[in-house]
């Protein structure tokens, strides 16, 4: 069991829930549990091989799981897991074209 904080851009896939409790003993299970509960999250969190996408950071407390044990990082009832995807907003200042579209 752990608490997962869903970032605002992904809340549309979790019926606007910002915090979810998941039954899991490690991060890999927690993510699987989440994507089973909310299948639309899957393509945003996992790549075609089922690995956590490189532009989606997952922190347990303040620590990046890359500096812990990646997907095997253990979680317990007190763990707060944050999903922090890359966002790029600020002002339009592109190279040659507007990458994401106006």
């Amino acid at each position: 069991m752990a608490t997962v904080i869903i970032p605002t851009p992904l809340r549309k896939f979790t019926q606007n829930a910002s915090r979810l409790k998941v039954e899991a003993s490690d991060i890999g299970n927690a993510v699987r549990e989440l994507t089973e509960q909310f299948p639309e999250l899957k393509k945003h969190l996992l790549d075609d091989q089922g690995l956590i996408r490189s532009y989606v950071n997952i922190f347990v407390g303040e620590e990046d799981i890359r500096n812990l044990h990646q997907e095997q990082t253990a979680v317990n009832a007190d763990s707060v897991v944050s999903i922090v995807p890359a966002i790029a907003g600020g002002s339009i200042q592109s190279l040659k074209m507007n990458y994401h579209g106006l």
Partner: protein, 387 residues
């Protein structure tokens, strides 16, 4: 000490009085601000408050890079600009406003796209860089340029109700350099998966908060006060009013600052962000005038609007609404026996939808409305609402 022997004029001393009297700040910190050169990349949502506060604070030289023009859809958050400046280059409007705010500050403007050719030359002259841009290629470009030039990069980013702030590549007291953007996000998302503010929206006050924090970190770096946000990522969730701070550590496999750096010069950031292949594949375009001609001639065609329902509510030109995110699920609604024209607000999302439909379902009859509904309004129905 007599005023005349101080580096500040009497007017400046009056202006900066509330800084100078802060214990621990004093005239020495104000002097550091006056000597500092800060480059703000992007004068939009984040750049607006950052520039206003840095100028008011008395940073001696401020550079602004932006290629864009002031648009009425900017004014909900870009507090540097007002209605009289719609259509003007942002950098020029910004300079006018900032010079009026503080004539003791020198404002330098670069009315240009920042790219791999000009970035090093523009950034080279500055002490601190503040990145408030809107796209991943420029994020990586600014990061790499700062690492190559050994400049601190005060990073901020926003989306809808959430903001991120960090300080990258800061020279630490022990001589090492703090982590950079590639340590936090080693690779960018593929094009199309992460929406921009232009697509996903942003609450106007959020960049006001986050851009002000960016200015704060710039001032801390210049003056040496406090602990800059190096090695940490700050996150603000405006909806829950929650803040969290995470640790960011250098990665040994960072291609520009790790143990075996491969990047020694700026690269092609569009290619790095997976945009080149997408960009080079041509799609068929149709102008707003050509669409109008089809309509006048009564020719059979299907018009599909790939924007979001809330945009459709603001204005529409008779297209069938299939938002870009659901286009492949509704591929069966797209006709193959006639011309199908797809449009969005300005042409990028519909181009993406066409590429997806062509590659997954083999459509050959799809046309992108060049410039989207905005071009159609400009060229055909100027009485409609623009947004």
């Amino acid at each position: 000490m007599a005023y005349s022997s101080l580096p500040f004029s009497k007017e400046e001393l009056g202006r900066y009085n509330r800084h100078i009297i802060i214990p621990g700040f004093g005239i020495a910190s104000q002097q550091k601000l006056k000597e500092a050169k800060v480059l703000v990349i992007g004068s939009g949502g984040l750049g607006s408050p950052a520039l206003l506060y840095l100028t008011a604070a008395g940073v001696g030289t401020i550079g602004i890079v932006d290629f864009d023009l002031v648009d009425d859809s900017n004014l909900q958050r870009q507090v540097l600009f007002d209605v009289r400046e719609i259509g003007q280059p942002k950098v020029e409007a910004a300079r006018k406003r900032l010079e009026a705010l503080n004539p003791h500050v020198q404002i330098k403007i670069y009315n240009a796209h920042l790219n791999s050719e000009n970035a090093l030359d523009i950034l080279r002259d500055y002490d601190v860089i503040a990145d408030g841009t809107d796209n991943f290629p420029t994020r990586y470009l600014v990061n790499d340029a700062c690492v190559l030039l050994d400049k601190p990069n005060v990073y901020a980013s926003i989306f809808q109700f959430e903001g991120q702030v960090s300080v990258f590549n800061l020279r630490l007291k022990d001589g090492r350099r703090g982590p950079n953007y590639r340590d936090l996000y080693p690779s960018p998302p593929p094009p199309g998966l992460v929406p921009s503010c232009a697509e996903g929206g942003v609450l106007g006050v959020l960049p006001g908060i986050i851009g002000s924090m960016q200015a704060l970190e710039v001032i801390k770096i210049i003056t040496g006060l406090g602990e800059p946000l190096s090695g940490r990522l700050f996150l603000f969730d405006a909806l829950q009013f929650e803040t969290r701070t995470f640790r960011v550590s250098p990665r040994a496999d960072n291609p520009i600052s790790g143990s075996h750096p491969e990047i020694k010069a700026l690269v092609d950031y569009e290619q790095f962000c997976g945009m080149k292949a997408v960009e080079e594949k041509p799609i068929k375009e149709l102008s707003a005038r050509e669409l109008y001609d089809l309509q006048v001639r009564g020719e059979k065609f299907q018009l599909i609007d790939v924007r979001e329902p809330h945009e459709y509510q603001i204005v529409q030109i008779g297209g069938e609404l299939i938002p870009v995110g659901t286009i492949t699920e509704h591929a069966d609604q797209i006709r193959r026996d006639r011309k199908v024209i797809l449009h969005c607000k300005s042409g990028a999302r519909s181009a993406r939808a066409i590429r997806e439909l062509e590659s997954k379902f083999g459509f050959e009859n799809l046309y992108n409305l060049t410039g989207g509904i905005l071009a159609y309004i400009d060229q055909v129905q100027p009485e409609l609402t623009k947004y």
